[in-house]
């Protein structure tokens, strides 16, 4: 064992672990023994720490495949993505934190721990690390979903998440046991060799991979493993919902990509029909389910399922273009979702639900918020000139160029139109309806700054895509 190798690969994780431990001490000292804990210092340490770690990820050098993990450009891309997500979520949580009467410091720590698990997943190259990393993410998020124990809905979200998550984890670990049984190794590379060298995969291995797909489909929110999404998204505190919808979904995307592009590799063709079928159902379920929703967070949950459908469509074609498209898609999705959830936090400041009536007439109450939410909805819907349009375009082009099943591609085009309908319904509420409550919406300068950042990113990468496309291409390059 070589400690230097460990640090080269898992350096970001070590920093995150240190940050979490520092946060525990800071929170303890700063609170002066009070349970509620003043969070100014804790918050500063969180931002400074996550910011410094984000900067450090840009200095990571690809290390390749080591004994304990791997650090390729793909892993580096996702580490940057996860740390950036954590930073944005903490930033978004600042105006919400007053609603945690206790445990504000613990909130930051749990987010850091979840990020640590996500970064570990980016670097894992064996199934044992994969399972432990995934549990670190999932179990932390279970607790975060129930982080307002005074609200029945939050408790409900936590319990539903625990039960369905535990079942999914059970299936997955059962599948990993079968994979180990059929190949004699936890190592991704060994499993890949067995798959490629055998003419037909042994039944035990197929079964194991299928069970693994159940666990990953749960994280990604793909049908038929999506049932937890609407209730948990609606009940969880809004910053946690943002973390679930971006960070947690991205771990599913990341591991699916490793599974399809690296572990199945040349044999990915055998799974095209299966993945296409799942993409078909996911697109149908997400888009049609979103139409009748009246709660904004639930609505964004269904919208997230619909986006998972597009990502599955790209995955199923298994080409390099589709990998680039997925990374681009995730990056634009991050900013669109953070903007939408931040508007929800501001609009439903004192209330504990996010009913759609709250954004009625938002244009009169705060033209800036109205603009941000409109841009976010249009970007999610895939309207030019926003970044979401180009993301959908890349996915569909990859699917058409690389032999996506035509019925699924056509369905996805129809679903883009359906999506346009329900996203525009939200925009209609903002501009056409009378406000239910016309009190002034207060925002801090930091909140304004984050909203502005998201809008600029969505707009800039919509009209000038090549830097982000190059970034995504560099990230996906090491998969092939």
């Amino acid at each position: 064992m070589n400690p230097a190798e460990l640090f080269d690969i898992f350096g970001t994780e070590v920093f995150l672990a240190v940050l979490a431990l520092v946060l525990i001490v800071t929170d303890l000292l700063d609170g002066g023994g009070k349970l509620t804990g003043a969070s100014e210092k804790t918050r500063f340490v969180t931002y400074a720490g996550l910011g410094a770690i984000l900067v450090s990820t840009f200095f990571l050098e690809p290390y390749g495949d080591g004994q304990f993990g791997q650090l390729d450009s793909f892993a580096i891309f996702f580490k940057q993505f996860f740390v950036a997500t954590a930073l944005l979520v903490m930033w978004l949580a600042a105006p919400y934190e007053v609603r945690f009467p206790a445990g504000r410091g613990e909130f930051s720590m749990l987010i850091v721990f979840a990020t640590l698990g996500m970064c570990m997943l980016a670097s894992c190259n064996d199934f044992a690390t994969l399972f432990v990393g995934l549990e670190l993410v999932t179990i932390t998020l279970f607790m975060l979903a129930a982080f307002r124990p005074g609200l029945p809905r939050s408790i409900e979200a936590g319990i539903k998440f625990v039960i369905i998550g535990a079942v999914a984890a059970g299936f997955m670990v059962y599948g990993i046991a079968f994979i180990y049984g059929a190949t004699g190794s936890f190592d991704f590379a060994v499993v890949h060799d067995v798959i490629v060298s055998s003419e037909e995969m042994p039944g035990a291995l197929q079964f194991g991979l299928l069970m693994l797909l159940v666990g990953l489909g749960f994280k990604l929110g793909a049908v038929p493993f999506h049932v937890w999404i609407p209730d948990v998204y609606q009940g969880a505190p809004t910053p946690v919902t943002a973390m679930l919808s971006v960070g947690s979904k991205a771990t599913g995307v990341l591991l699916m990509m490793r599974l399809v592009y690296s572990i199945l590799g040349e044999a990915a063709g055998q799974w095209t029909a299966l993945l296409m079928g799942l993409a078909f159902l996911t697109l149908l379920m997400g888009n049609l389910g979103a139409i009748p929703q009246t709660d904004l967070k639930r609505f964004l949950g269904y919208s997230g399922i619909a986006h998972a459908g597009f990502l599955m469509l790209a995955l199923a074609t298994g080409s390099q273009d589709s990998a680039n498209a997925i990374l681009f898609y995730m990056s634009t999705y991050l900013f669109a979702n953070i903007a939408a959830f931040l508007v929800i936090v501001v609009v439903s400041r004192t209330a504990d639900n996010a009913h759609m009536d709250r954004i009625n007439g938002l244009a009169n109450r705060s033209p800036f918020l109205a603009l941000v939410l409109t841009v976010s909805m249009l970007s999610l819907a895939g309207v030019p000139p926003f970044a979401g349009f180009f993301a959908k375009f890349m996915v569909l082009r990859a699917a058409v160029d690389h032999g996506g099943l035509m019925p699924v591609v056509i369905l996805s085009l129809v679903m883009v139109v359906v999506g346009l309908y329900y996203y525009l319904c939200v925009v209609k509420r903002i501009y056409m309806r009378e406000a239910v409550d016309s009190s002034v919406l207060e925002m801090s300068g930091w909140t304004r700054g984050l909203l502005l950042l998201c809008v600029v990113v969505m707009f800039l990468f919509g009209i000038y895509q090549s830097p982000l496309v190059d970034f995504a291409r560099a990230g996906a390059a090491s998969l092939f």
Binding site: Q67, A102, E106, L110, M143, A182, M201, G203, F207
Partner: protein, 164 residues
């Protein structure tokens, strides 16, 4: 010599698991589950996995079942609320599909692995410990972080708060 014991422990495990599912009283369910775990431990002994057998008894039959019994006690069901598991057609369909997949998996294990290899560990704690602290050191350390996060979260959630 192993075969009769395999059928003894395996049969007992299946029987006790079915009883766990279908008896009405949850306390009886829990007791049958302990017996099912004990039979599983017997199967591990037949595979020479002595450490696994000991862990199965200590952790599952011991610690986890005590938690189960505590929960059953705290819920404090009245006798007229007790009901066993009701089977509906959807459950049968789901279980049947899973069983069919499993049957296919088990009947085609692939040639990659020599089944005897599993026995090279001989189930000694020393071998397992060495494996955990060398090849599996990353997941092992990650589990310690997971436990820390779990403790923190549990304390926050269990604490009495003023959130309304």
């Amino acid at each position: 010599m192993e075969l009769p014991f395999f059928f003894l422990f395996g049969g007992a495990m299946v029987l006790f698991t079915l009883l766990t599912m279908f008896v009405k009283n949850p306390v009886h369910s829990a007791i049958f589950m302990i017996l099912s775990f004990a039979s599983t431990a017997g199967l591990f002994v037949l595979l020479d996995a002595y450490l696994m057998a000991a862990i199965e008894v200590l952790v599952y039959a011991g610690a986890i079942m005590v938690l189960f019994l505590f929960v059953i006690m705290l819920i404090n069901l009245r006798s007229d609320e007790l009901e066993g598991m009701k089977v509906n057609p959807l459950m049968v369909l789901a279980a049947g599909t899973f069983f069919a997949l499993l049957h296919r998996a088990i009947s085609d294990l692939g040639a990659a692995v020599d089944p005897v290899r599993a026995n090279t560990f001989e189930g000694e704690p020393k071998v397992v410990a060495k494996y955990l602290f060398t090849e599996m050191v990353i997941p092992f350390e990650a589990v310690s972080l997971l436990l820390l996060a779990a403790i923190l979260g549990t304390v926050v959630l269990a604490r009495r708060t003023r959130d309304a």
